[in-house]
């Protein structure tokens, strides 16, 4: 256990903060959590000074998710059958006129959720739902409970193992419906379950369901036929189908991310395109953007709402203007990373940490830093192994004496 070490670091950090913070002071803190493509570990890096804060040993190579609040990072280890909770150490408290930031050492939260083949991991309003494909079961836990170090989850079952997804929605849960005729294929729709797990209404068709995201108060699932768009109606989810426009070429979205600050969705569409989606309109909802080569990864900018980023196999990072629906800037960062070969091979991933865009370069063992304002490369941070998935947490806030 690392508890002792972690708390010692926390005390040291606390002392250094309180000596410099005689009164209210603006503090900026950003942390990068990076998983390795081969080794079971998560490395934590201080994005402000580039120094390594800690390395957490986990059970298998992981994909990473950060919570909306940024207080928790989850390592989903599909092959090892476990989801591990990590307390990021950075939290904010809203005081109306200002926000307070609290910075402690990152540490393992002491929470593990085990099961067969964990896959999609989705947060909605502070509740996390981890879907375990091998069982067709979702295990749901709140952030509050995770940060208390308790592994108290509740379970919601679907009818069969599937590469599925679950999303909590108030007292309801949205669950993917397995393909009964062809159990190895993607789910065929979404059904709504009440608090007790009983289905409400029928199945909302969503063939080849894969990919979901939230943007503001709207949740969306990607289907072969379009999007399922979920919004509130008197406290219950209202679900409608937004079909792909006839003007789009053949294709479908299988990875979806949600805009922050502006409400939109960004999805893949064919190997060398992305699509911007306004889920609130009936016509002109889809705007297709062609990329110079095949797409490796994409991310939205949570600070500069106007921008999203796409990394392509030629080693370029592209700045996407989501208002104009066009590539505004491109920057060569790495050697080519061909999309030939297995989807899970080590390839770059993108995260945004305040005014920096960070791109992992697994085969070189570095993180590339790009200034988000000038869109110029500003530096590298070396990371042992093959740095792969990356998430960032942080921001600015005030600290006060005695806190």
């Amino acid at each position: 256990m690392r508890t002792n070490l972690a708390s010692a670091t926390a005390i040291a950090l606390f002392l250094s903060l309180s000596t410099s913070a005689a009164h209210a002071e603006e503090v900026t803190a950003w942390r990068l959590f990076i998983s390795d493509h081969a080794d079971p570990k998560v490395t934590v890096i201080d994005a402000v000074d580039g120094g390594k804060l800690d390395t957490f040993k986990i059970k298998g190579p992981a994909s990473l998710h950060r919570s909306e609040s940024g207080r928790t990072v989850f390592a989903v280890q599909g092959s090892a059958g476990v989801v591990t909770g990590i307390a990021s150490g950075i939290s904010f408290e809203d005081h109306g006129e200002h926000g307070d930031i609290d910075v402690e050492a990152p540490k393992l939260a002491g929470v593990e959720i085990t099961g067969k083949k964990p896959s999609h991991f989705v947060e909605h309003d502070g509740d996390f739902a981890a879907f375990f494909d091998g069982e067709g079961v979702a295990r749901i836990i709140s952030e509050k409970v995770v940060l208390e170090g308790k592994s108290d989850f509740r379970e919601v079952k679907t009818d069969a193992p599937q590469h599925g997804v679950a999303v909590t929605y108030g007292s309801h849960v949205l669950l993917s419906e397995p393909n009964r005729e062809k159990p190895d294929e993607l789910p065929v729709g979404i059904r709504v379950a009440d608090e007790a797990g009983a289905p409400i209404g029928g199945i909302h068709a969503c063939p080849d369901l894969h990919g979901e995201a939230s943007s503001g108060n709207i949740l969306a699932f990607a289907c072969a036929t379009g999007l399922l768009v979920v919004s509130h109606r008197d406290g219950t989810p209202a679900i409608r189908h937004l079909p792909y426009a006839d003007s789009l070429p053949d294709g479908k979205t299988t990875t979806l991310i949600g805009g922050r600050g502006l409400q939109y969705f960004l999805g893949n569409y064919g190997a060398d395109k992305v699509v911007l989606i306004d889920p609130t309109v009936e016509s002109n909802a889809f705007r297709l953007i062609s990329l110079p080569t095949r797409r490796v990864h994409f991310a939205v900018d949570p600070v500069r709402a106007k921008y999203a980023y796409v990394f392509t196999e030629d080693g370029q990072l592209h700045q996407l203007d989501v208002v104009k629906a066009e590539i505004a800037n491109s920057l060569k960062l790495t050697d080519p990373y061909s999309m030939d070969g297995h989807w899970s091979e080590p390839r770059p991933r993108v995260a945004v940490a305040g005014d920096k865009i960070v791109v992992t370069d697994p085969l070189k063992g570095v993180l590339h830093l790009v200034d988000a304002t000038s869109f110029e490369k500003t530096g590298d941070i070396a990371v042992e192994g093959k740095p792969f998935n990356i998430v960032s947490v942080g921001g600015s806030g005030q600290t006060h004496e005695g806190e």
Binding site: D94, G96, H98, G99, G261, L262, Q263, A305, V322, G395
Partner: protein, 328 residues
């Protein structure tokens, strides 16, 4: 951008083109209004010299509105952007940033009498009124990371006082004059004649309130949208939700309100067009108050509704309030 300059530029184009485009339409001032009530004011001041796009439309809730990339494009190509300010539009800062607009973003509550947000007390007291310029100082703070916004120090619903509506109209006329000097006389004349309608409206409201016995002037709505109405006209409003609809009322807030309703002997309860009616229905059934209808708080109705304009909205509200109280 100066209207005169643009006109000259277009004239140059016209002389070289055999087909004359619709000059009047092309030359109108492009105005973006943040929500429906401001859109209506702008229409009354701008007349046919302006084209108005309203971001948060009829029955929409600007407190929790999520701007789209298309809204950023709209704001980006505007000549004038009209907003309420006082952090009513929680989305404003990120939208303006994303739009990269060069247009002036005009806060229409500027220079007005501004009430403090008395959220803790759950309702507004007249002695909490703060006057003057400080009202628009509370700019949305650049807090931590994404789009999160804070409740303001002030109550943003200033249009609920007709007296303040006159200020909105004056500020709109000033903004239009600055953007289009050639139309200034028209804007001033429009503002003047609309101002007369506002003055008449205010007299109607005061006369209606005077008919309500003083001990029956407490009513319930969903959220604290009527602080200015209360301050100006002497109807006391209690609400389970605060000045923003963003955070839901807690069970404790609702229990406290129910207790207060019994003590204050509230005379009527209303649902609002921008909020979910369920909570009000629950409070009505627990207190035995009959729902007196729907009030329009932060948005107009659609064209076919009873509150398609600001004048209609205010008349509808006071008529509904008076009717429910006197009929109870």
């Amino acid at each position: 951008m100066s209207r005169t300059l643009k006109l000259a530029a277009v004239m140059g184009v016209i002389t070289s083109l055999p087909i004359i485009p619709s000059v009047a339409a092309a030359e109108n001032l492009k105005v973006v209004a943040s929500f429906s009530i401001i859109g209506d004011f702008a229409k009354n001041v701008g007349g046919d010299r302006v084209d108005i796009i309203t971001l948060v439309g009829p029955n929409g809730d600007a407190h929790v509105y999520e701007p789209k990339p298309a809204d950023a494009a709209t704001v980006g190509s505007a000549d004038v952007v009209l907003v309420n300010g006082l952090q009513f539009e929680g989305f404003l800062q990120r939208l303006v940033e994303a739009s990269a607009t060069k247009a002036p973003v005009v806060e229409l509550t500027k220079g007005g009498e501004v009430l403090r947000n008395t959220e803790e007390e759950g309702h507004h007291d007249q002695d909490k009124a703060a006057k003057g310029e400080e009202g628009h100082a509370a700019e949305a703070k650049e807090g931590h990371e994404e789009g999160h916004h804070h409740h303001g120090e002030f109550d943003p619903h200033a249009w609920q006082s007709v007296h303040n509506a006159e200020l909105y109209v004056k500020n709109i006329a000033d903004a239009f004059c600055a953007a289009d000097a050639a139309g200034c006389d028209t804007y001033r004349a429009n503002a003047e004649s609309y101002g007369q309608q506002l003055a008449a409206l205010e007299e109607e409201i005061k006369a209606a309130v005077a008919e309500i016995p003083e001990d029956k002037r407490t009513i319930i709505t969903s959220h604290d949208a009527y602080g200015y109405f209360e301050h100006e006209y002497g109807i006391k409003f209690l609400a389970p939700e605060g000045v923003s609809t963003e955070s839901e009322a807690s069970a404790a807030d609702v229990a406290a309100l129910i207790k207060q309703i019994r003590q204050d002997k509230a005379s009527a309860i209303f649902v609002e067009n921008v909020t979910n009616p369920r909570l009000i229905e629950q409070i009505a059934s627990e207190t035995g108050l009959k729902i007196g209808g729907e009030l329009y708080s932060d948005a107009l109705s659609d064209e076919n509704g009873p509150a398609a304009t600001y004048l209609e909205m205010m008349r509808h509200n006071i008529t509904a309030i008076k009717g429910a109280i006197l009929g109870s």
